[in-house]
Amino acid sequence: MAEATAHAHHGPSPQEQAENIKFGVWLYLASEVIIFSVFITIYAMFRAQNPDTVFHVREELGIALVSFNTFLLLTSSWAMVMGLRAIQAGKQRALMAWIGLTALLGTAFVGLQYVEYTELAHAGVAINNTNASVFAGFGMRFYTPTAFHGAHVIIGVIWALWVVWRAWKGRYSTENYVGVETFGLYWHFVDVVWILLFTLIYLV
């Protein structure tokens, strides 16, 4: 986005443009919050009205795997913060290492989610369970928000790799790290959404 305003003396200064970009990302995340809240509300209504179904699913599911997965995602957020700290201190290689770790943990998260999906599918939780099934109505309301979240993680991983690549090219410095910051905002957002989903689906 930034290169198009390269008319340095006319357009906003680099600092101003960094502020603009962050503000823009916040607005973008606001709109994401709303899409997720549609899906989450739909799940919550189902949860309130069909406690039995959810109970059956929980029996199948177990919580160990998903707790570990949540731990991975939280760790990745920590790695991301360390990366941001690194570039603020001017440490290019540390930045690359930390953000690389973020990407790795994100990938692991998606992989384990795949494992979980496979197990659920074996247990018979499908996106279109009929009314006869004990899982009726659960699958679609579960898979949609979690898969939508998973897609966000995948995009986040790609974004992280892009940040690593730009870091390798030396695009970031102690003055200019808005690219890392915006990725960080996004990644934290993805993390927070997961904590919400985890709490709502697995805990309450």
Partner: protein, 585 residues
């Protein structure tokens, strides 16, 4: 602090010249090019949507299905007409006006994110084509509201419709983010929020609604698409879904969205009424803040679309919020009236359309209060009264305002004036044709004629024939408009920098402006609507001298090219400025 005077003794400049046609056909990050791109695409779809309206009114000349041969064809025409008019004409037109005018008005060189701006635009043409391709696979027939289960029973075109709408939603969210950041962060020194032109306020309010409401549509459409392709049943009651869910989420988006469609026009006419009656805006703060409160309250009224389908206990609360939202609108209407009251009104075409907005939108708003009251709506729901009501707001409000904007800013965009005579024809035919079309529909509606059907009871014949005749007049009026645009490009008088002697910043440069908009850092005039003072007159005189329509004493061929020589390269061709006399209003 900001001073009111321009820098002393600058070279007069005529025009930066129009970019070549090719520039408009390819990727560009210049907000002015993008604005024109939006406008051309929107106008094309306005034309298509208008043709569909004519065909529908032709069908409705008789009580039976004859012209379309099959009621389903009528339904698809009706669906496409509604969708195109809203999502491919009015909403892209916000992109057009906002893109071209807003950065200029706040003295910025471009939008905050030029690349994103271009990207948001380029989503629209493919999405529009996708929507039209529905005709090939069996078009959408479920109306622009696409209620399930109807929308889940249809052809593949229904899927294309949903995907296309999803893309259009993404485009407008990205565009809106850009507007918010631009307006809040890129104003120059000397322009605090409460000295910002009212169009910017309106676009800001609109953009906030878009960012916060459109994602609801995106969420609902995602689920609808999943129901169509992935075998889920979010909206299929027989398989554990919920049809009311769609209605709730859809209207949670779409009611705020009707303010998306009218707020920009409100901003436009705030500018036009003040400039063309040479008077300061009355109640500037009230107009600005009422835009914001409309944006807020707009989120609390959605269920008035569902008085007949929701639990009855919820009717009264939503009726109350619906009445409340009439208050900020009323404040605006009275502020506008007070603005032109006692002013030196110039009945330019822009002004005519702004006045048309005032009168027709008033009827739209008042009929809104009528259908907003539960006992009446139980009777009027889904009748032609509603069709009439929303055309009064969308056409009489939204589109009249957009026309006013086009007449007002066209000289800035192209450097040439539109033909006022043709403009008057356009206005009067529109105004008369409009009332002629949509007033009989109110009666038909009150007598119980349901909407969205190709047939009706023969006793309603006269109202429908009247309405159809009016519609053909209305259709013809648009031809004057399109002809006028072409005429202006070919023969229009050279406009000069500031043909309307307006005080906002977009006029403090040549028409069209150079690639980075201004020739030096623009200094806003302290009060954007301070008409009638000596200081304003001096400021405008100086501006007229700097950006004239023609040089006062042309010395052979040399004069125009001399002033053009200082322009950025590649813009001198195509400017035949200096041929016609400078003009006053």
């Amino acid at each position: 602090m900001a001073t009111a005077s321009l820098p002393i003794r600058q070279e007069p400049r005529i025009s930066a010249g129009l970019p070549r046609v090719g520039e408009f056909m390819r990727w560009s990050v210049d907000h002015k090019i993008i604005g024109v791109q939006y406008m051309v695409v929107a106008l094309s779809f306005f034309f298509i949507g208008g043709i569909l309206a004519m065909l529908m009114r032709w069908e409705l000349l008789t009580p039976d299905v004859d012209f379309f041969g099959d009621g389903a064809v009528y339904n698809s025409a009706m669906t496409m007409h509604g969708t195109i008019m809203i999502f491919l004409w009015v909403i892209p037109m916000i992109g057009a006006m906002g893109n071209y005018v807003v950065p200029l008005q706040i003295g910025a060189r471009d939008m905050a994110f030029p690349w994103l701006n271009a990207f948001a635009f380029w989503i629209i043409p493919p999405a529009g084509i996708l929507m039209l391709l529905g005709w090939l696979v069996g078009p959408a027939e479920a109306g622009w509201t696409s209620y399930p289960p109807l929308s889940l029973l249809g052809h593949d075109g229904q899927l294309l419709w949903a995907v296309s709408l999803h893309l259009l939603g993404i485009s407008s969210i990205l565009g809106a983010i850009n507007f918010i950041v631009t307006i809040l962060n890129m104003r120059p020194e000397g322009m605090p929020l409460f000295r910002m032109p009212l169009l910017c306020w309106a676009v800001l309010a609109t953009a906030l609604i878009i960012v916060l409401a459109t994602p609801f549509l995106a969420g609902a459409l995602t689920l609808l698409i999943l129901d169509m392709v992935a075998g889920t049943s979010f909206f299929i009651a027989a398989q554990g879904g919920d049809v009311l869910l769609w209605q709730n989420v859809f209207w949670f988006y779409s009611h705020p969205a009707v303010y998306i469609m009218v707020l920009p026009s409100m901003g436009i006419i705030s500018e036009v009424l003040s400039v063309h009656s040479r008077k300061p805006v009355f109640g500037y703060r009230m107009i600005a803040l009422s835009s914001m409160s409309i944006a807020l309250v707009g989120f609390t009224v959605w269920a008035h679309h569902m008085f007949t389908s929701l639990t009855p206990e919820l009717r009264i609360p939503f009726m109350i919020t619906s009445m409340i939202i009439a208050v900020p609108t009323g404040i605006k209407i009275f502020s506008w009236l007070a603005t032109i009251w006692g002013g030196k009104i110039h009945f330019t075409s822009a002004m005519n359309f702004a006045l048309g907005f005032l009168s027709l939108f008033l009827i739209g708003g008042l009929t809104g209060v009528i259908v907003g009251s539960v006992p009446v709506d139980i009777h009027l729901h889904d009748t032609y009264f509603v069709v009439s009501h929303f055309h009064f707001t969308l056409y009489g409000g939204g589109v009249m305002g957009l026309f006013a904007g086009v007449y007002h800013w066209w000289p800035k965009i192209t450097g040439r004036m539109l033909n006022e005579g043709l403009g008057r024809w356009h206005f009067w035919l529109t105004f008369i044709g409009f009332l002629w079309t949509f007033l009989p529909q109110q009666i038909a509606g009150m007598m119980g004629m349901p909407r969205r059907v190709a047939t009706y009871d023969p006793s309603l014949l006269i109202y429908n024939q009247l309405s159809s005749l009016g519609a053909f007049v209305l259709g013809a009026s648009a031809l004057f408009f399109f002809y006028n645009l072409g005429w202006s490009l070919a023969r229009g008088r050279v406009a000069g920098g500031n043909p309307w002697r307006a005080l906002t910043l977009e006029w403090a440069t040549t028409s069209p402006p150079p690639p980075l908009n201004f020739y030096e850092d623009p200094v806003p005039y302290p009060n954007p609507y301070g008409y009638g003072s000596d200081a304003a007159r001096e400021y405008l005189d100086e501006q007229q001298r700097r950006f004239p329509a023609a040089l006062e004493a042309p010395t052979d061929e040399g004069s125009t090219s001399a002033s053009l020589a200082t322009q950025p390269a590649g813009t001198s061709a195509g400017s035949s400025a200096g041929t016609s006399a400078g003009q006053q209003q």
